[in-house]
Symmetry: D2
Subunit: 426 residues, 4 copies
């Protein structure tokens, strides 16, 4: 395994790009090429990608079939940008999404194209929930991450991100997530707050949640907890929004992350891996009777990004049978076993393995340890990032399409990196 | 000129897509192919495009040089999705944008990649302005349109769009735009409100404006007014944000719409035609000393959309000399002259020509008239839309690259459509 | 006229009272006794009172008939504190207020007892207006003063007071008051903002205004302006709230300040001189069909302050005929004539006389001049204060019951004080 | 014991007073006279007062010594209304309050006069805490009641009262009070939310609490809990505000309700029984180094209510020794024993005795039962009210000065009333 040595010239970015830039600080090199689970930088160094665009590249980089379709579409001068006009590419996507995803799962949703990013779909979901119920409060959970625009940020837990708003974030109540603290029963609290006329929490329009919190530290809500939350919402006439931007599109082992729990959210937010090729794309799924939007009441210039429709339609082929889901689950188990082995091997670090499907992580209590692990991994050609409010979790989001060899190589580097971090932070 | 007759099958959209869909109602057909200033639907009907993706297609559909670059990049498995990691494609864009756009205009800005849509750049601008100044209020103007997420929507004037938020929109003050009303001197009011300790308007973080309001009805702020606003802002330590999402990238005859006014905004928002090919892309330009972001304080999954970098870099070639700008101005004059002729010809409709560069419109006082004009135009194979709070303006946003023949054809259809609308609304 | 010389011991106040104390800094002496338009301090110095408790002592200090009634009530062990239970004293007040004030003026209002201060009545008015209309925005005017609790403060113009909230003040829009600026037609702006669907001002629940702004600098709204505001409100279904806390109870020459304009506000706020004896008391008058409060939906411990009911009932005797109103108007004219004479005499100070009835002032453009005048006046035994966002107005609020001798003495001191201020600020 | 029979004429109130009136519905008679723990209505019926002005009459009605002082002050034409000018009466109060209350308890506070009601002192406390810390959030607790103006209402738990605001109530977070739910450790949750950078709760300016929640249902916080809350606040630099409006002035057995816990709040709110005679009065006690108010930054017309100063100064005599406190405690025990006996006697009602000192209640789980008890009590000449979000608690707030005979009579009626309620709600 090569350790990066020559210093890449990052000066253009330092001179011209805002201080807000972030991952280019963790991975200080200039990337040029990508395929499957691999990336290459300008100097030709190869990297294994256990980050996968923060979950936007579930099908790996530059999938050949999608690439072919994209080039074909471009070559034929298909409509590229169409606002929310009808195009053949959009029609195909709608049809396939309905046939391959919604229908077999017995889900009836209207599809909204809210602007092609995660925060846009979350904003559209929050707006609709408030508009339909006539209420203003939305309940979110500790450690939640829903996006950076004002509405989404108000339901996001991270203090550093919240501070960036520059104004108080309102109309949201943050309640404890599943297993937040052993001394606090989160379901009891949610229900008490809803039923108690003196709780001080106004009846909310909606509860918004991630079934597995990615940015928040790979926290997994149990199926039982999700079911209970759904039932509590139903009892009180509160809408349930699942933000499946990161955990959806197969990441946790099923297309929607909430399938194992058997719940049916009122609104679902999808983005990241939706286009399959890393292209900006997002949709909001809406229970039909809640679809009270007026025409154009929420709009946006890039609602009609046809290259994304094309790739997304192709990506749906992965879901025609349940083979793909089974493979994710198998690989997920494999990685989990390995992580547990690594945690045990370096047991003095008290690493705790977390996650579901191929959305996994090891939480390390020592301050800065997880960050050091990722740093050492990068030196060894493995790209992975931390999560959690204190960056305390080393997070693994390999492409779902990765082969066993790739997984093993990456895990082996991770093992070495934990070892190296243990030494350097002694 | 053909009048659309056979009814296109739109049923998939009606069944599966949310009621929020809008333009597919105005243009009820399924588009399939596009090139330059033309679109073709599934039945092979041809349309002249005077809408240009609401300003996202300034260089026309599927520009051949950009298309070539995109296919080349895809073929070579260049990195497509990179979050805010460094890539060669991003580096090239940064370098070219600096060399071709910023440097020659004597503008020093740090470039922020805030998520690839207009509302994302506006949100990032508002957040930064508030964070840096420690103030919460932002002044916007009547008829302003800045986006659909909560922060942007709070500085947007349109009552119907605002209603969609479902909650009160706060921390913003809407003041009269240039020439809003002859009995109200907007500059006096702005300055009085800032200097008067009893005005009831808290000292704002920023003033945000469009130099030409697109969605608001093609309202043009004079250079003198813009200069005065800048000076008032300077005097009171208030930041000036220009939202150049629609009016920028050459639409009004210069790259930035504020160039003729000779002002230097503290923050500039760009999107729409930035990628040149209709791909989602946005940047926020920041006066360097205001770049107080912490790493990752604002983030987003699709900040690194490399196809957009590739096309955008190619698009900058249009701006190497000032020939392109001159051509826009020439065509703008031509269209304006024609619009005035049309207005005069149908003088009973009291049409008023508005706009700057190739961002033009005719305002018709009769309720529903402009909408009827657009409807008649569509029947005749011309795509154009209305603007203004009462949809009272027939708006023209042809591709900047359109040739004279295309312009003439389109204008001729417009003329017929005004005629037809006059008859049908008699 | 004596000039205060010996320094009073204010140390207890400096040691024990909060820095928020204010008037005891302007009038640094310990007051002990009061009668009519006079105050005496502990050292026996006599002061003419042209401040009248900021308008809370319209009937002068310690009116003999009211005093008698109060002592009688106390002696008989009448109920003093009754929350909102029914008491004989409250019944008498309600009956008399209806018979003497409402009925002869053809006003039908339900009376609400909202807590005994100005800000409480304003808060109750704002809450009701929002609740009844289901809207959140309230329009207030530049230089408005409505109180210090969060709801009232949000519709108050003064930047220093607003800052004290410690949080952004929202759900209010401040528009220009009558004659705010010659280049801004305030009525046009109000109406445009209401009718324009793109104005960025959400349809408000109510417009709240003072017919004469006291704290804001003795700004007088013309009857024509008030009538127009009422009509604009009616046309748009917006409620009109008149905050008559300072200008009401006869201060401007009629019981309600809005009588000369012939308008009928939907809600009226009264306090200050309502009890007649300077006792805490406030009522909110509500158009009967708007009285949608649930029992106890707004409450407060001191809604039933029976001493205030007793004095207030007695005070209503002043209003049985219109003699008292005529006297106020006569004295108002007398004072105005004198003020104009003083302004003319010291014409280099460019003093501008303002006001209506016995709510008058001279505005001096020189920074600090009005404050100096009040300081000099205090030295000479005259109590008066400044108003306006820059304390630029020397304000006169003598008791309405003052005799001509008192007025003349006070005005003569004022004259000397302007002279002295001119010398000292040369 | 007489049962009220003849129907009192309440028509004036029904005709002229707003629907918001409340207690006059529970106690439908016109009161005329009061002394000690007794009230008499117009028909001469006598009532025992176990309500004591919702805690505003801790020293009973019309205390003879205070009455004498008030009449004396009125007779001598002492200054009645003084804004925040210095008066002898105010000086005496400040001095006595310092000597009798603050100094012996080793408390150093600056005294602020914020306007004479409970909600005014709470608003001033919230404003100061936010201003001083530069933070916007305030933590309050479930079932809290802090007042009806917007700032206070936002930290009040009751859904019905909150609804009255007509707008969303923001900048506050409601956390579980002591013993809110056995499955939720309220202290753990408070601390976790403060220390967790991903909790979604912004670092608050302050925590505001009542040590015994009156309106919320006579919920008692343990000393241990209060101590822990104080320590948590200290650890995180969060201010602690105790709203002692209802529980203070001796109600729970010590002057301040927080004395037994040994805590020192940063800000204390006092009102209700502060004047001793039921006169409107409130103060805010401020830790000296937090006294960052500018002069007049918070003001109000009735800050200088000198009759209240006079009575309040006299009332302080009760506190010169600790005899009075001991008596309250003794009577509190007596009443508690009796309530437990009553609860046991009617054990099928599952009544639960709550409270501390002479702030007591019985909670009855059956819907409407506590209300029925109070109704029956009124018929028998006993005035008492319910508390709690579902009016589920029959609350006892007898005057602290009541003698044993009065207590016994009242308790005996209560016993009968529970009996009667049991029968009628069978």
């Amino acid at each position: 395994m090569i350790l990066t040595s020559e210093k890449t010239d990052m000066s253009i970015f330092e001179q011209l790009e805002s201080e807000v830039r972030s991952y280019c600080r963790s991975f200080p090199t200039v990337f040029e090429k990508a395929k499957g689970y691999k990336l290459w930088d300008r100097e030709g160094r190869e990297y294994i990608d256990f980050f996968a665009g923060a979950g936007a590249l579930n099908y790996g980089h530059n999938n050949s079939r999608m690439k072919e379709k994209l080039i074909e579409y471009l070559s034929s001068d298909g409509v590229i940008h169409s606002l929310d006009m009808a195009t053949s590419a959009k029609e195909s996507f709608l049809r396939r999404f309905h046939d391959v995803i919604l229908k077999p799962r017995n889900l009836e949703y209207k599809v909204m194209f809210p602007g092609p990013t995660g925060t846009n779909t979350v904003e559209s979901a929050l707006k609709l929930a408030r508009k339909v119920t006539g209420r203003d409060t939305v309940v979110s959970f500790t450690r939640a991450f829903h996006g950076m625009t004002l509405g989404s940020l108000a339901v996001t837990g991270n203090a550093f991100k919240r501070k960036g708003a520059g104004i108080p974030l309102t109309h949201s109540v943050s309640l404890p997530y599943d297993q937040y603290d052993e001394h606090v029963d989160s379901l009891t609290l949610l229900e008490r707050y809803l039923e108690d006329k003196g709780s001080g929490m106004d009846l909310p329009a909606a509860v918004i949640l991630e079934t597995v919190q990615g940015e928040g530290g790979i926290n997994v809500a149990s199926s039982e907890w999700l079911k209970q939350v759904e039932q509590i919402c139903r009892r009180h006439g509160v809408l349930l929004i699942v933000d499946d931007v990161q955990a959806g599109c197969g990441r946790t082992g099923t297309y929607f992350s909430f399938e194992p729990a058997g719940i049916k959210p009122d609104i679902v937010c999808l983005s990241k891996s939706l286009s399959g090729y890393g292209l900006p794309f997002a949709i909001t799924l809406i229970r039909p009777d809640l679809d009270e939007w007026g025409p154009g009441e929420h709009n946006g210039t890039f609602r009609g990004h046809n290259l994304a429709f094309v790739a997304a339609t192709e990506a749906l082929n992965f879901w025609e049978t349940d083979d793909f889901a089974k493979e994710i689950q198998r690989k997920g188990e494999k990685v989990r076993t390995n992580l547990e082995r690594i945690a045990e091997k370096h047991s003095s670090q008290n690493g705790e393995v977390r996650g579901r499907g191929l959305m996994l992580g090891i939480s390390f209590p020592q301050e800065g340890f997880a960050e050091e692990v990722c740093k050492e991994a990068f030196k060894r050609g493995l790209i992975m990032e931390t999560a959690g409010p204190d960056s305390e979790v080393a997070k693994l989001l390999p492409p779902l399409t990765i082969d066993d060899e790739g997984l093993e190589k990456g895990l082996s580097i991770l093992d070495e990196s934990v070892e190296a971090a243990s030494r350097s932070l002694l």
